[in-house]
Symmetry: C2
Subunit: 394 residues, 2 copies
């Protein structure tokens, strides 16, 4: 899939490791309406701070992204490095410097290898083509085991509108406004206000519903660029039907990317949907689902394929959400394990253990105390998670 007016490229710049793609570029031929959401972590990496500032204008033309180094927590050097690389790229692309966004992922606290990036910058620009999107998705991987891209076509006022999205994940993933890194390009013609609102809304329902390990990164960002080449009538506040069609398409792309991140969580062997219904509010449902999703004891039980619902009830009980434990039902898939707060016995647990052997599991919690219902997507907690994170920098 290609989107008219966007070109992409990736090269192996040797920023941290040799001979692997680690520097990617997305360029729009014309200034694209561009919206972003960024990490809520108070410790924000230099590229996050720079992009937040530059996106106030609602337009951008290029995203330069590296893996191998987060460019976070290095003091003044971090912003200098971000500015230097964006300046170098802008010169080669002959665009205004403030139309360049930069993004980094990798180890926190190390200085960005600007000379390596500079050495490869012209190669990168020369390699731009209309089919490099997958390569960029590879270049942003860190502990990811697979690259993550999604494409969609939706119809908006009789024009085909395309979306192409990429994301990376794996660890330090409990996005709170945005996930690690995700870039979406679309040919939709849409106003900045609508694009930003649409992105925020979609992120809240997708990336902000996943957690790998409860840790929120310093570098999270989701950026969507819309270059208008689809030729649809402008989507703005006066076109609610078109806006909804765009929203649905964007949300669909983000949801699939979010689930790909969960599927590829560090060391993950299973993907788990935690659904809490019957809560007094949606906020209560989300809080409880998130507490269960982040419990190390629940996650290791999933890894051990152990239908240990006592740990689920214990996590629910410490979530801070008010509920009556004596009327709660808990099910794995369609197997009800706990009815009115009491386990239904060994036979049922054996059936539930069968469900736990699957790769995709839905845990349903019904509090029977209201209409609040929310889902959080997570993965299990395996020996490999500990191995990966004990050895990450060695």
């Amino acid at each position: 899939m290609k989107i008219k007016g966007f070109r992409t490229a990736a090269v192996a710049a040797g920023i941290r490791y040799k001979d692997r793609l680690d520097l990617g570029l997305i360029v729009s031929d014309v200034p694209a309406v561009t919206a972003g959401v960024f990490t809520t972590n108070q410790v924000k990496a230099a590229p996050v701070l720079l992009d937040m500032d530059r996106l106030k204008q609602g337009r951008a033309q290029a995203i330069l992204v590296n893996s191998g180094c987060a460019n976070a927590c290095t003091g003044k050097h971090g912003m200098e490095a971000a500015l230097a690389s964006s300046r170098s790229l802008a010169g080669r692309l002959k665009i205004s410097e403030d139309m360049v966004l930069v993004s980094s992922t990798g180890v926190i606290g190390e200085r960005l290898n600007v000379p390596a990036m500079e050495n490869s910058m012209q190669d990168l620009v020369d390699s731009l083509s209309d089919d490099g999107f997958e390569d960029v998705a590879k270049a942003i991987m860190t502990t990811d085991t697979v690259s993550k891209t999604v494409s969609r076509t939706v119809s908006i006022n009789e024009h085909e509108v395309q979306f192409m999205g990429m994301a990376k994940g794996a660890g330090m993933i409990m996005p709170n406004m945005a996930t690690m890194l995700s870039f979406i390009i679309t040919d939709a013609q849409i106003s900045y206000t609508e694009l930003q609102q649409s992105l925020r809304q979609a992120v809240n329902k997708t990336f902000n519903r996943i957690t790998i390990d409860g840790d929120t990164s310093t570098n999270d960002m989701v950026i969507v660029m819309a270059n208008g080449s689809a030729g649809n009538h402008w989507i703005d506040e006066d076109t609610p039907i078109d806006r909804q069609a765009f929203q649905d398409g964007l949300e669909d792309v983000l949801k699939e990317l979010a689930l790909k991140i969960v599927n590829d969580g560090e060391g993950a062997t299973k993907s788990i949907t935690i659904r809490v219904c019957g809560a007094r509010s949606e906020q209560d449902a989300e809080t409880m689902a998130r507490t269960v999703a982040n419990s190390s004891l629940v996650k290791t039980a999933f890894f051990g394929e152990d239908a240990n619902w006592g740990r689920i009830l214990a996590a629910m009980g410490r979530s801070g959400v008010r509920f009556n434990p004596d009327i709660v039902d808990i099910a794995f898939g369609d197997v009800v394990l706990v009815k009115n707060g009491v386990g239904l016995g060994k036979e049922v647990e054996e059936a539930a253990t069968g469900i736990l052997k699957q790769k995709n599991i839905t845990l349903c919690i019904d509090l029977k105390d209201g209409t609040g219902c929310e889902e959080i997507y997570t993965c299990d907690f395996s020996l490999d998670y500990v191995k990966i994170n004990a050895d990450y920098r060695t």
Copy 2:
């Protein structure tokens, strides 16, 4: 060490496993002034609910405790089982039933094996002696690798007052009011009001400052029985000096038990003190220290002996506590790794890695923004933690 007027015993009742001590008993010859603090988890095990009710009278004479089954989340059966075992014991001890406290630890959601307890109850009572305290500490172990007891003698108005305490821990440990199980006996003569206040104050400074895995149990309880046999003048609100001496002794016992729990955390290879200073309030300091202590990424880095301070800053940043990342200092022991938010380089990291090879590590975070200072005690997150918790019930 022995305390006059207290007798203890433990037997292998076969509640879940054969041939290991799993049923313990602590008896005071006279009704002892008794205070307790219990889990804040909304899902409370039957023995917790029963003891909370019985301790309203501020007196008790016996604690019956089993491992192998938490007697939690089994509906009406749970309370019936707790009542049946306390009734059986009271009959044999010839004391009033409401002077018996019960306590359970083990798997949640399974029914308590009352027949096995009943079969061993007379043996248990017949075994009571003045030197069974260590056996009871063994009988309450689950995934603990060592039993945990502490004794102290303090001087109160020219009388020697003794304390003996025990605790169990290992997993599902982030006490919020109390830890998994801890029992303390003392011969102090003290009013119920002072004992309860003293216990709550000591628990807040000790057990409530440790976390193994961020999960709070359904069964946590700390109970202290004071039988008055030391013969000191009554400690009450009119004896502030004696009260402080008692408080110091109790806190000392609880602190040592709490640290023993951390040292024996599931799979733990290291004990870590997380100290946050310079916060705008003590609450802020505690919240941040707790967030860092519960971060899976920080804990796996400790296991890997990796001075990965970026993960520490990332956890601080998502803690919800306001601070200025650009003035923060971070040190392992006396090695300052980060000065004003910036890493001090490879040489310093190597020195810090030396510190990380030790068994007991102090991580110091200075926010330089106030006088709030608090410590949280935790352990690292190892491969064995996952192994233990993936296989716990098999």
